[in-house]
Symmetry: C2
Subunit: 641 residues, 2 copies
């Protein structure tokens, strides 16, 4: 029982480019942003708040009540990167040390740590758990502490995290405050802290927060009636906080999507660490709700802008979509935990869909612009002129007043090596394909593989056993759900292993130089949504391998709504190394309707003249990296005549 | 030049039922609402504010800053009804007298009248024209004064209106406050006051407000910089107020839809009264924008909930629609003025579309429930669970905190007789068909017609000349734009008059008993939107005569999205006197898709099993008068196989 840590090195290919971007561009840029040094971007004030809380600076607290977490997530990302020993990290290490010192100075003598309540509302600690994000911020500090400790061996930040966790443990629980945070996060962080320290109290406290949540009488209702309760956001809907019923009784992924996902990660983590069957069933049920009935084809979740929330099954509007980057990241983490718990490939399939599409779409190709909201259809004129689309941006943003997404995507990319394999039941599962290597110990046996692939553009993935000596091991490689005709060969000889839950297991005595090759032919595929998804009725999306495509105005001109794809039209994939950092495009012969003038409403169905038009699809993740314009993932499909 | 007053009596048929409802149910109900006597409904406090302002009651002002206007619109409706001498009006007359006395008491010695600024902010008069609605409220008082004076001869309320108008005239204009109201209304009201009093100053003041609006330097921008400016709503977008450019330079109907329409009514009124060609062109241009590119098939306008506003051409989403009842009423008034100005039937066509559909939909059949928002597609589960639809109600509401719509629809229905004919160029134009009579004087000649029809359910409309003696007159009857095969006969003999701008002119010496009969065959029609309306692509709406139909769950079961109509399916109209107060329904053989279980996204277009299903369409205006459920105006049309 318990999660076995299996971290791979990402050493080339698609994700290495992103990781280099994070190292060379994203984190230095965000360091500037957190220091309020990006001209024209909204001020963060996050580091300044810590300087004020430490007595290093005068001034007023500024920013959201949870502004501390932006710095913590940046620190976590830096910790992950430093752990890989990549590139010249001296400057990064100096920033990390400076940040750790600053955070340690801001910690109070009793272990409490939160600059908002230290600087601005010193008398209000733990009085508004529902809205004030204290435990949420603590969770991100703990995650950062674990990552930096693992990456650099820095004991100081781990000590800060432990002192804060101990302080929380001293204040929360039976006989103490019987509450929990309005924004889940500390639960999963405490499990991480338990994993790195072995201290059982942290695991127990995480379980306490999960089990207490939503119990009757409701803590949030009681808290809000207290005389010293000071509202921050005044959102009263208990579903928003996943707090209307006990967590084990939640029927659906509902409320604020990021909160829901972070809770689910903790539920799955607790099931992994404790073997609790009820929590396992809860995790599986909520995942099925989120990923099988409430997820965009891009892996985005949380379809409503109001409350950044889940709505109901199959309600997935493309144009008013919210699909926050952080929520997709949350679904990725949650799916990873279930992959570890069950070794069923459906979970890694969703990790892959989310990562390559709805997560990657949140970061500009140059690392200096972000999307918080990831719509599947955009008409810039509507974003400019209709309040219905006020949340949808078609230009990448330099930063945000509420800047949760930028450092979140950074920490995920920086830690991606932790998510590409998992170990369970004595087997090594290859979940996500990448160029790189892993060395690990399973049941006392050391083994190492080097993986080579041109994925996601090319359809071959190879694992070469790199020793250190012959060893019997079970390497289970995921057969992607999207692949119709996988092939497997060992040292050039075709294999036909039985796939179990979507993984092909190759259990044998591996010798140095042994080479397993997986072939995943990736023709261009048309994808259709369940017909209960109103927004996609009569429409088709294009996918090749794990990559979901879209049409952009830059390639196809304006008025994308007038374009359609005949059911029989051939679609060709073509590599274009010069486009959008190097992508495979998809093109085919479509139709463009030409409107004739007429009345707004008429008795005759306007038979638009349809002219042939070459359609060029580009990967969805790469949209909005050229001149601003329309974008659409779903396109009308014309039935064959 | 100038509008010739031509008021008909509505004496039976479709609209008489509505007028009886207003008299017997709506106005007594609203009187209770304004007196805070409806259990469970939001409190109005409107009358109580006047009692406080008059010194008759202690207490605090409560309600919106424009709460006075609710009472004024109610008073206007009562004035219109009393003018018709219908039914037992003693109680209504007593309420009106009581209200007039109360309003007169609340008027300040200098003529100023506004309970908010009298009770709550006595030092803040005219300091926030952009947001505080003072001139807007004054406009509604003036409209009420004109209606009550016309209906009952009550001089006192007309005197209150004149004193208020004189006070405004003394404060606004060149050398005085060079401002205008954030919510247009006073302009059209001043034209009405000019028409009833002949006082040219009121017309000039209306023109001043219209011509000053949007001039540079911008008044609203200057005002908001003043030290004594106190924000109410803090909406800064000048387009919202139609104040970014001078009115004559406005290119489109834009911003808050009700404000835009009330401004347009005044622009057209001023063109009528002054012959100003620039204003006429402005009115025609803005009408074309509103009605020919930005109007729902129901006549609703203003498609975005945020700012209750117009967006861009062809942006007419059905499910997130706003389409405020007041905005449709505004479009009705605006179209009426252009009908009077141009005698082109396209304007009365839109009056008809709006009245029978997007206006009538705002009132429950029992007069005790309202819709502020008039969507064209409703799924109750989404309204309950997705913030994207928070403005959409599927149950009629008993009242509103912002209760502009309920008394607005009452005053329109009560004054409908003013909108069914117009006189222009020596001709009497029959614009809207109804059961009733008109007596008027044209070029010094008295004439009277009695109109009989079962419209909108039956396709024959007859005008019988009722004297008093033979007279040469030009009766111009509108040939509805929706009618393909109109027929006209005089005293049983077929006529083929030339239609001019959509009206058939019958100019002759009319003798008592002469009977002109118009036949407007009304088969069930399929209506299609311009393909630039994304939301309606591939869909069809059903219309018969002027009535737009919808599907309701009450007749068709849930999951309306699964229903479609084959292109060739026959549709039958059938009268059902027992349904929804007596309607003609439309039915036909449609298809219902039956979903088979499957993945949320798959490579195969889910070929849903389509089973034949009888579809029953009911008039859109009558929706949501039974058990709550789904509703849809636009339905997928299946191409013929």
């Amino acid at each position: 029982m318990g999660l076995q840590y299996a971290k791979a090195a990402i050493e080339g290919g698609f994700w290495q480019r992103y990781r280099a971007l994070v190292r060379e561009s994203v984190l230095p840029y965000q360091w500037k942003a957190l220091n309020d040094l990006i001209p024209g971007a909204p001020k963060s004030h996050s580091i300044e708040n810590f300087r004020i809380a430490s007595g290093l600076s005068d001034g007023q607290y500024d920013g959201m009540v949870f502004q501390d977490s932006d710095l913590y997530k940046w620190l976590e990302a830096a910790g992950h990167l430093l752990g890989d020993g990549e590139g010249d990290s001296r400057e990064m290490l100096a920033w990390v040390d400076e940040t750790v010192d600053l955070i340690a100075r801001a910690q109070q003598p009793d272990g409490y740590l939160n600059t908002y309540f230290t600087v601005k509302e010193p008398g209000k600690r733990w009085k508004n758990l529902r809205e004030a994000h204290e435990l949420y911020c603590a969770g991100h500090l703990i995650e950062a502490g674990v990552a930096v400790f693992r990456g650099t061996g820095n004991q100081k930040i781990l000590e800060v995290a432990r002192r804060l966790a101990d302080h929380i443990d001293s204040r929360f629980g039976a006989g103490k405050i019987r509450g929990y945070c309005g924004h889940e996060e500390v639960e999963l962080a405490l499990v991480k802290l338990y994993r790195v320290t072995g201290e059982r109290r942290y695991l127990d406290l995480a379980r306490y927060f999960v089990d207490e949540r939503g119990r009757s009488p409701n803590f949030f209702e009681q808290e809000a009636r207290a005389s010293d309760f000071a509202p921050v956001f005044s959102i009263h809907d208990l579903d928003y906080y996943q707090a209307r019923v006990p967590v084990r009784e939640l029927a659906d992924a509902s409320g604020h999507a990021v909160r829901a996902m972070y809770l689910c990660v903790a539920v799955a983590d607790l099931a992994i660490e404790t073997g609790d069957e009820g929590l396992r069933r809860t995790a599986e049920r909520l995942w099925s709700s989120a990923a099988e009935r409430r997820m965009y084809v891009t892996g985005g979740i949380g379809s409503a802008a109001v409350h950044e929330a889940f709505t109901v099954d199959y309600d997935l509007p493309n144009d008013t979509a919210y699909a926050e980057t952080c929520a997709a990241i949350g679904l990725f983490f949650f799916s990873h935990r279930l992959a570890c718990l069950t070794s069923d490939s459906r979970y890694a399939d969703v990790m892959e869909r989310t990562l390559y599409n709805g997560v990657a779409s949140g970061l500009a190709l140059d690392g200096r612009g972000y999307f918080y909201v990831n719509p599947l259809e955009v008409v810039p004129e509507l974003c400019d002129k209709s309040g219905t689309y006020h949340h949808v941006k078609y230009r990448r943003q330099p930063w945000y007043g509420c800047a949760c997404c930028p450092p979140n995507i950074a920490r995920l990319l920086a830690s991606l090596g932790e998510y590409v394999y998992h170990i369970e039941g004595g087997a090594l599962y290859a979940d996500l394909f990448h160029e790189g290597s892993i060395a690990c110990t399973i049941d006392g046996r050391e083994l190492a593989f080097r993986q080579t692939t041109g994925y996601p553009w090319e359809d071959s993935v190879a694992w070469e056993f790199s020793g250190p000596s012959p060893v019997t091991a079970d390497l289970a490689v995921r057969i992607p759900g999207w692949c119709r005709t996988p092939g497997l060969s060992l040292n050039g000889a075709r294999l036909s292993p039985s796939a179990r839950n979507g993984y092909a297991h190759v259990k044998r005595e591996w010798r140095p130089g042994d080479r397993l090759e997986l072939s995943v032919p990736m023709p261009v595929e048309r994808v259709y949504a369940d017909p209960r998804v109103r927004a996609d009725l009569g429409k088709v999306a294009i996918q090749r391998g794990p990559i979901v495509y879209c049409l952009e105005q830059a390639d196809n001109g304006p008025d994308l709504r007038a374009l359609s794809l005949p059911a029989g039209a051939e679609l060709r994939a073509e590599s274009d190394p010069s486009l959008l950092g190097g992508v495979v495009t998809v093109s085919g012969s479509g139709l463009a309707s030409v409107s004739s003038p007429g009345a707004l409403y008429g008795r005759d169905r306007r038979k638009e003249k349809a002219v042939e038009r070459k359609l060029l699809f580009v990967p969805y993740y790469a949209w909005a990296n050229r001149e601003p314009g329309e974008m659409a993932v779903w396109i009308r499909e014309e039935e064959e005549a």
